[in-house]
Amino acid sequence: MSSDETTVSGAEDRMAGVEPVPGVGKPDPVLVADGVRRSFGGLTAVDVEHLEVQRGTITALIGPNGAGKSTLFNLLTGFDRVDQGRWSFDGEAINGRRGHQVARSGMVRTFQLTKALTRMSVLDNMLLGAQRQYGERMAGALWRPGWRKQEAANTERAMALLERFRLLDKRDDMAGSLSGGQRKLLEMARSLMTEPDMIMLDEPMAGVNPALVQSLLGHITSLRDEGRTVLFVEHDMDVIMGISDWIVVLAQGRVIAEGRPSDIKSDKQVIDAYLGAQEDEAEAGEGDDG
């Protein structure tokens, strides 16, 4: 427990002295985005002037439904094309890269609608996450001795992650037989197989039963404690306030506020734009998931 506290305060230290204003600079940003804009027809879904994400923190991205959170995720990770804007990851410009290239550069994302590969085993799901596999090249695939060792090492790593995410006894089951919460866990574990520096989770807690929420939270915290950066979208205010080092509020595509949980709680604009509508939305959201 004590080690947890030191790392939490460590993460908070890194945010010390950062002003809670939209677009504020961070001491050691891993992700820096400038003028990122995307519109669908006449609707401007995302219009972010400037956004930095501090390395090694848990940053929450919140905002009402339709605020553009998922669209921003899609843009940053190369799953959608921007109208304009540029962004860099770990000092390297990555705008214009396609989804798989972004993932290879160390920024991995999950999806709001879980994408477990249902007709594949849990273990195969995991192994897909491993990078630079010799056996994934068509010619290399036919030469089994060329990849058998690597496969064994990857399997070992996958087993360790499955153990950590309490899915080890499910390893031979089809992913489609898992519960919604287990699929979220699997998706998170699978993305860790890529050994990412930054992990972006789109509503990792949606539709997950309360018993699993606690364990998911624990996993997210431990990602940060391993030195990874977490950016996640979530609706549940208790969750957000509980584990975030920093919160970014999006409304109608714009960053309207950012700051520590305590700053956000008292921000008048946020309360108007978002927190006021929180109750209704939570209920509506639950209806959708059920």
């Binding site: 989804g99 993932a103 994408k115 249902t118 897909l128 990078q131 036919l142 496969e151 489609g176």
Partner: protein, 329 residues
């Protein structure tokens, strides 16, 4: 004609050259659709460029048959790239529409007047099997086999060559699908965005599969040319693609042996219905039907077979029902 003769004759053709050629083309389609989920409704287009690759090389330029096959494969690669580059980044239905349209356009191009110097238009090409038969290890005039299962040396040679290719590519399929490469392919079938988010170049994988499956289809087309010794564009109508789909779904998509079993059973049933209709017709039991109607009834039968299959056995004869029933949502 008695029923036993019809059964025996149907069984004979179920392992014959035609069944082998369709099995080979279906092995390619199995890679496309069965494993990767690529909707290729124009596998006949690959067979067409394959058949004409051999046909034009051998029949027009008098080149050795192996050169003809090399030309076939090259044409298939080009066709796959032309189909794949614009469509494989888009939603899967774009490939479906492009393949069915392209295959049909190809048929019209190959039969068109301006292509006549090469393809001889609607008359097609003849005398294509001399080279292939010159390396026939069997005696061409002799009959081989036992009982009703007897084939001429020429047919036997096509059968041996084609079934060997079927075996070879089925083995290749097995090896590929039991490797990390195959895992990526199956992942793409399930959800390509998930695979992309794990750092795999989905487009490149789909392209590889489209090329490989197309090349196998072209080989089947090449075998068709040397088997029949004559080809013409109208043999490559869309119904060939649909037969291949029926074969694949019948045998079991995404199963290594699905195309083999599918083709054998399919051609058994086709020949059996044909034989039965003819026998009944000649006995006067079908007064309202004449010879040409039998073909139409046969096609209706294929349609019925597909519907029944999808309703009662969506996984095919050797498919895995458990895998089919997994909640995909």
């Amino acid at each position: 004609m008695d029923i036993l003769t019809i059964l025996a004759e149907s069984a004979r053709s179920a392992v014959g050259p035609v069944a082998a050629i369709y099995a080979l083309a279906a092995v390619g389609l199995n890679l496309h659709f069965g494993y990767t989920g690529l909707l290729n409704f124009g596998q006949v287009g690959f067979m067409l460029v394959g058949a004409y690759g051999v046909g034009i090389s051998v029949g027009v330029y008098g080149l050795p048959v192996l050169v003809g096959f090399a030309v076939s494969l090259a044409c298939a690669v080009v066709l796959a790239l032309l189909l794949g580059i614009p469509t494989l980044r888009l939603r899967s239905d774009y490939l479906a529409i492009s393949t069915i349209a392209t295959a049909e356009v190809l048929r019209y191009v190959y039969r068109a007047g301006f292509a006549e110097p090469l393809t001889n238009g609607v008359y097609g090409l003849q005398n294509l099997s001399a080279g292939f038969r010159s390396i026939n290890p069997f005696e061409s005039a002799e009959r081989y086999g036992f009982g009703v299962f007897n084939f001429s040396g020429n047919h036997l040679w096509v059968m041996v060559a084609t079934w060997s290719l079927v075996g070879l590519f089925a083995l290749l399929t097995w090896m590929l699908m039991h490797s990390p490469w195959g895992r990526v392919i199956k992942g793409i079938r399930e959800d390509e965005d998930a695979v992309r988010s794990l750092g795999k170049n989905v487009f490149a994988y789909k392209m590889q599969v489209l090329v490989l499956g197309g090349v196998i289809g072209a080989l089947a087309g090449g075998m068709m040319a040397v088997h029949q010794a004559a080809i013409n564009p109208d043999q490559f109508k869309p119904q060939v693609s649909f037969f291949l789909w029926a074969i694949l779904l019948l045998g079991g998509a995404g199963r290594v042996l699905g195309p083999l079993i599918g083709s054998v059973v399919f051609w058994f049933l086709m020949n059996f219905t044909d034989g039965l209709l003819r026998a009944l017709g000649s006995e006067g039991y079908l007064p309202f039907l004449s010879g040409p109607d039998f073909g139409a009834i046969q096609l209706a039968f294929v349609g019925l077979l597909l519907v029944l299959l999808i309703v009662f056995r969506p996984q095919g004869l050797i498919g895995d029902r458990k895998e089919m029933l997994i909640n995909v949502k």
